[in-house]
Symmetry: D2
């Protein structure tokens, strides 16, 4: 099972970047792994949508990803909240050309609780206990999440909420997409 913050091969997104080696907020992979066994990790998940002139959702962006073992799964744009960062920093996760229309409301449509053990909640994540603030984000540009293994597919609300899609999504995120669509009145 995959997790919400994939580290692309050949890069350590949580390690100390050049020039910041003394920043105590940067975690080595070992330290991050240790923290994951002891603390809930905080994430932001973003469901990018495209809307028509009346604000109605017409398309939903879902990620396509190949796992290390070659399986193709679908997931949702996400990013771990780093020390000192506001939860409103979604640009990194959506890519520089997304041009999100960040809504003034700071309230997520749901708080998804991922537990290592399936069945405790609708969501699970083998690797950790994660708590995710999930937002619907209207975008006007193109989404290019930073993880190179990922590609965004744009689906209609009907496709995005189908059982077929839910079956392909990891960690129970098919439910998350439905909750996202429901929160904007786009679930049928």
């Amino acid at each position: 099972m995959r997790t919400p913050d994939p580290e692309p091969a050949g890069e350590d997104p949580f390690g100390p970047p050049k020039g910041n080696v003394s920043n105590p907020a940067w975690l080595s992979e070992i330290e991050l792994a240790e923290a994951r066994r002891r603390l809930p990790m905080l994430y932001v998940e973003a469901v990018p949508v495209r809307t028509d002139g009346m604000g109605q959702v017409v398309e939903v962006g879902i990620l396509l990803r190949a796992t290390p073992v070659g399986e193709i799964v679908r997931t949702i744009v996400s990013g771990r909240v780093r020390y000192g960062e506001t939860i409103r920093h979604l640009e990194n996760d959506l890519g520089p050309m997304a041009f999100p229309l960040l809504p003034p409301q700071p309230v997520p449509f749901t708080v998804a609780e991922y537990f290592p053990l399936p069945g405790v909640s609708p969501f699970h994540d083998d690797r950790q206990h994660a708590v995710s603030l999930a937002f619907v984000v209207p975008v006007t540009g193109t989404c290019e999440p930073r993880q190179d293994a990922l590609e965004v597919t744009w689906l209609t609300p009907e496709e995005a909420s189908s059982d077929a899609l839910a079956a392909e999504m990891e960690g129970g995120r098919g439910t998350l997409v439905r909750l996202a669509l429901a929160s904007v009145g786009a679930l049928r």
Copy 2:
């Protein structure tokens, strides 16, 4: 006390427009007055806001209006929902150059109940029992509400939520502005 849908002098916004005289949904002033004594009237109220690049509210649009007796009061953009119209039609009320970023969420931040008798709820309206769906609407252009007697003033969230402003607002709408700001995390 004023009401949420002022009829500017010399115009009957609820009467039959030219070419539509046989539309049964158009009400004469007498019919509208009659309906107001017997049915709750449905309104949409819009609090226009301007946001910064992070989606934080930096300005709030409040209406300034002269009453028939020459009093200056402040109020909120509003419009009665007409037969057959969706509640998402805010363009008429905000003006053609508002360029609202209509949020995909169809849920109002509050439902304000206006009763003819003050004290039943925080909101009152001498003329009628009105139920108003109140939305925060980020705009990127200029607001020119259709009522010629009105002018939009842009205030900071602090000014808009002050006791001084609340005292100038009609029908308890100072409370509505505070609820609007709270719903977008802009109330201190």
Copy 3:
């Protein structure tokens, strides 16, 4: 197609009750029919739920009803908002033994717009343009809606959100039930 405020045979719920004949807010059936051709009607719809000790929804109350032509349809508890009545008056609609735990939040989970013509929105009502404020209401007792033709069936969230149930519900209310469940995190 049925409407959200069925009049049980042998009773005129909108006519003047004994002792109130002079109340101008009471509408005769003819007057109500006339108003329906010209004004949007305001409703409250309530999805009663039973919750476990943690507040999680375990059962959803859906109405079963026989139409005048003998068809069995499913629908949702609803009531028209009368002149002078607050939207919080749900007791009449849920029955005297419902003991609802009225939530302090006055915000509906959605505003459902019913148009006479199917397809304009997800919801339609042959008889009128209705705007409905839809709430999830936890109840601790038994629901006995006033309309004698109705019976409440308690379903699991899974049953209540199934395609099979949606197909039996009138006016698109299968969508409304799903939005209700989504708003309380009980949609999978």
Copy 4:
């Protein structure tokens, strides 16, 4: 400045309790202090309220607390989310006799971001970067938060949203109380 999870004297709530010494999720004080320098900490804050029969908020529970240096401050019931615990576990924080009516909605009224540096957001916490999911929780019993230094005072919504109270509250929580009241329509 105080923090949202006071450790009462003579007890280390984050240390390994008897019989659980090998549970890797328990943090020593040193480990917790270390984590606080590197990761955002996740909290739940609960604003307990008492409601009348219609669900309207009539009282708000605010904590009174003496700081180590003898200052009296006001704050809000809160608890750090532990590894493996759901955010719905509020009993520990409200006390065993609170009998909360946990709402079925899993969505907080706001997400409060506390930064060590004042001014970054409306909320600050000298000790850490904390992200808090803030809920309004109707209670039917008495609140006895576990921290012995604390006492709950019940205030009217007007008192709880006053400038005088806000001035006494630590870390900007006066704003949080106002947002809580606004979310339930109890702010004027």
